[in-house]
């Protein structure tokens, strides 16, 4: 397999395996990016089905669809699958496809390790999804896997722990690869401050990953040893403390939410200038804002823990530190708006998603600010207000940005224009149904409906019905995306090298679809 002879680039492409082995052994960043994107799409639909079962149960008060125990498993697995299976791998897929194209590199710095980063995900998914079918079922401790609940559960919990370990290894290798690629593989003249913002946001995200994924590994390892090897990290009778888990987990968990949103900022920062036909406003401030958000993300974690008990001084510190994050985030939002100001704007599907992102993500940001206020959070903790908040930032934030990026670069990946009409249907159906699904949850939370419960009091019935209808429409609307992607792969209007009139950057200098090997001779950036 490992050819020991030196050969020229011209016949380096010939003896590649074909069929399934091509995908299993590939060292090509575009192939691996495609694998990541398909994997995340499958996981997105898997987690989506779980969400729809959850919403079906919540359509009416009482228990109709699931047993409470299974409901808890669904809630937990929906979270784990969406976070680790759908959102994170999707962004890594974008990084794989786009970063080498955007900085003029022949491939990722470590092409074989890149392959392994991807191929660790299917085993992890197998462990995670497979845990539904073992005695006791999947873990039902919530995606945060809080001790002591997680110390008590069955076989499924162990499988989840090992799945998290494996996904962590994958993420760390992926992050090291991205950092090395960005720092070391840029084409001549591509200085750091000329780099497309998507690459910048991923560079910073990769640092976050390297810093916190090992901490998560440590946290779940402590659960594992508490479960099976007699340690007492989380047992107060032996001097441990379940709150240790919460601190260690959220030291990972808060940067994790920025891991899922910073690359989204990067995609939106590529899309908006293209369709406003103006350069990004305040490029340097965007870079600094991204870095500030990343640094702040390490010192705010205990705002997830206001009700677990902490001194008032601690509450005040974590409250103000958290609010500080609104400043760099505000810089970003205002810069996007300023980019559009007096631009000659058109609203093709990617731009619809990007502008939609700004509206709905900002709403999620505001509810985040409200949750950061300690006295208010004590009221809202573990209510549907929190559920509404993080779905506004994770669905309307991360996912909408992923959709923007998908429509934006799909012609570059497939060589065909996507169906604009279908794209617009996808956007408007999703946008409206998303708000129908999640906006009422703010009211439910303010009225005190607890989250992670299969049943609820009668007065919450109306808003829950509305929410379920919205969720069903949202869920089924995503099939349009699948249709659009398959249609673009199979054919359609031929895409030119520069797909979008206002697009800037190296990826638009190569043909569409991008050839298997690009920039083997590095381009020179002036």
């Amino acid at each position: 397999m490992e050819a020991t002879h030196v050969h020229g680039a011209e016949h380096a492409h010939e003896h590649h395996p074909s069929g399934i082995m091509r995908w299993i052994t590939t060292t090509n960043h575009k192939d691996i990016g495609t694998l990541y994107l398909w994997f995340s799409l499958i996981m997105f639909f898997t987690g989506g089905v779980m969400a729809l079962v959850i919403r079906a149960e919540l359509f009416q008060p009482g228990l109709q669809v699931t047993e409470p125990e299974f409901y808890n498993q669904l809630v937990t697995m929906h979270g784990l699958v969406m976070v680790f299976g759908a959102i994170m791998p999707a962004f890594v897929g974008f990084a794989n496809w786009q970063i080498p194209l955007m900085i003029g590199a022949p491939d990722m710095a470590f092409a074989r390790m890149n392959n392994w980063s991807f191929w660790l995900l299917p085993p992890a998914a197998l462990l995670l999804i497979g845990s539904f079918f073992v005695p006791g079922g999947a873990t039902a401790a919530g995606w945060t896997l809080y001790a002591p609940l997680s110390v008590q559960m069955g076989v499924g919990m162990d499988m989840a722990i090992f799945a998290v370990h494996i996904m962590g290894i994958s993420s760390i290798m992926g992050a090291i690869n991205i950092i090395t690629t960005v720092l070391n593989m840029r084409a001549p003249g591509m200085t750091l401050m000329k780099m497309p913002l998507f690459c910048w946001t991923w560079l910073i995200t990769a640092y976050l990953l390297i810093a916190v994924m090992p901490v998560l590994a440590g946290a779940v390892t402590m659960i594992l040893t508490d479960r099976h090897f007699g340690t007492h990290f989380f047992n107060a009778a032996y001097g441990g403390d379940p709150i240790i888990y919460q601190h260690v987990f959220w030291f990972f968990g808060h940067p994790e939410v920025y891991i899922m949103i910073l690359p989204a900022f990067g995609i939106v920062s590529q899309v908006i200038p293209t369709f406003a036909r103006k350069p990004l406003f305040g490029y340097a401030s965007m870079v600094y804002a991204t870095a500030s958000i990343a640094i702040l993300s390490f010192i705010v974690w205990a705002h997830h823990m206001f009700v677990t008990g902490m001194p008032v001084a601690g509450q005040l510190y974590f409250m103000y530190a958290t609010m500080l994050i609104a400043v760099p985030t505000g810089v970003k939002v205002f810069n996007w708006v300023a980019t559009m100001f007096k631009g000659s704007m058109t609203f093709e599907t990617p731009m619809l998603w990007a502008t939609g992102f700004i509206f709905v993500f900002t709403m999620g940001g505001f509810t985040g600010l409200m949750l950061a206020i300690a006295p208010l959070d004590i009221q809202l903790q573990e209510t549907y207000y929190v559920v509404a908040h993080f779905h506004y930032v994770l669905v309307a934030g991360s996912l909408f940005a992923l959709f923007a990026g998908t429509y934006y670069w799909l012609p570059k990946w497939t060589g065909h224009m996507y169906d604009e009409k279908l794209g617009k249907w996808h956007f408007w159906l999703s946008m409206i149904s998303f708000n129908v699904a999640f906006f009422p949850q703010h009211f439910l939370g303010l009225a005190g409906m607890p989250r992670r419960m299969p049943d609820y009091a009668l007065q919450f019935a109306n808003f829950n019905e509305v929410s379920t209808i919205g969720a069903m429409v949202f869920g089924f609307s995503q099939l349009i995306l699948l249709w659009v992607v398959l249609k673009a792969i199979r054919g359609g209007e031929k895409a030119p090298a520069k797909v979008w009139e206002g697009a800037e950057g190296l990826e638009w200098t190569v043909p569409s679809p991008a050839p298997h090997h690009t920039f083997e001779e590095p381009p020179v950036v002036k």
Partner: protein, 284 residues
């Protein structure tokens, strides 16, 4: 061919990563089965380890062959440097999770268990004192680990091994292969000696001091931190042995030897973690 040398080396498709994935899947499933007493867990786990060893041999072998045949240029070398430093950083963060648990337990949770509230509501007679008395629920008496016996000797051993490794590195740079080999052998021997003493200490703790993994939060943090450190010393020593093997085969040049340096970085990292352990786990 001159152009070729300027190019960044992108490897051909490889089957090693999928073996790595299969290995981890087997290891994880085996471990789950073993921990829950289902079927032949240990056998599955062992099979996974074997596949992993095959993968590591094959993959690193391929990298070494590619390197020795001159496919890696200066830029690839820089990539290795960036990646190794950030890999070590990720390891630092792994240890940070356990150090964080230790600090939290010592500074907050154990003292708090003796607070007025806990005395009134739960454990009236508990007087917290690290490390002798950490478990309000009651525990068999045990003897805490002393810093100034074997651990202090181990500190000296690891510090010396850092010095011998640097001496070996100087030998490599000055092309004094004898010094390089001797330095490496000494470093490996010191590493193995460290591991032996550590194993002796563990046996002693379990059999004579009644200090176990389950000895409250003290035993948990003690064995998890020193255990993971010991695992990293084992990995480091294994890597040093591989490097010694390569040196004996004539690999590494005075101006091009990142494989050696990467392992040296790793060894120093393991050293620094030990110093942290010695201060906060054994001494204070």
């Amino acid at each position: 061919m001159v152009d070729q040398a300027q190019k960044y080396y992108v490897p051909e498709p490889s089957r090693y990563p999928i073996f790595g994935s299969i290995a981890l899947l087997l290891m994880a499933s085996g471990a789950v089965m073993w921990m829950n007493n289902v079927g032949a867990g240990k056998a599955v786990l062992a099979a996974g380890v074997l596949v992993l060893i095959y993968m590591l041999f094959g993959w690193f072998g391929a990298v070494i062959r590619e390197n020795e045949s001159g496919k890696y240029n200066k830029r690839v070398d820089t990539s290795f440097r960036w990646s190794m430093s950030w890999f070590i950083f990720s390891e630092v963060m792994f240890f940070a999770a356990f150090f964080g648990a230790l600090f939290y337990a010592r500074a907050i949770s154990v003292p708090d268990l003796g607070s007025l509230e806990h005395r009134q509501l739960l454990w009236p007679n508990f007087a917290p004192r690290w490390p002798e008395s950490v478990a309000p629920g009651g525990m068999d008496p045990f003897q805490p680990m002393e810093a100034w016996g074997i651990p202090a000797i181990n500190t000296l051993i690891l510090l010396t091994s850092g010095a011998t490794l640097t001496w070996a590195h100087w030998g490599l740079i000055a092309n004094r292969r004898g010094q390089l080999k001797l330095g490496l052998v000494l470093t490996i021997l010191l590493g193995v000696l460290f591991l032996g003493l550590q194993a002796y200490e563990y046996v002693h703790a379990y059999t004579e001091m009644n200090l176990k993994l389950s000895t409250g939060i003290y035993g948990s943090t003690f064995f998890m931190l020193t255990g993971f450190h010991g695992l990293h010393v084992t990995i480091g020593a294994t890597m040093l042995i591989v490097i010694l093997g390569r040196v004996l085969r004539g690999h590494f040049k005075p101006e091009d030897h990142f494989g050696f340096e990467a392992v040296a970085w790793y060894w120093h990292f393991v050293d620094v973690v030990w110093l942290m352990l010695f201060v906060v786990v054994y001494w204070l």
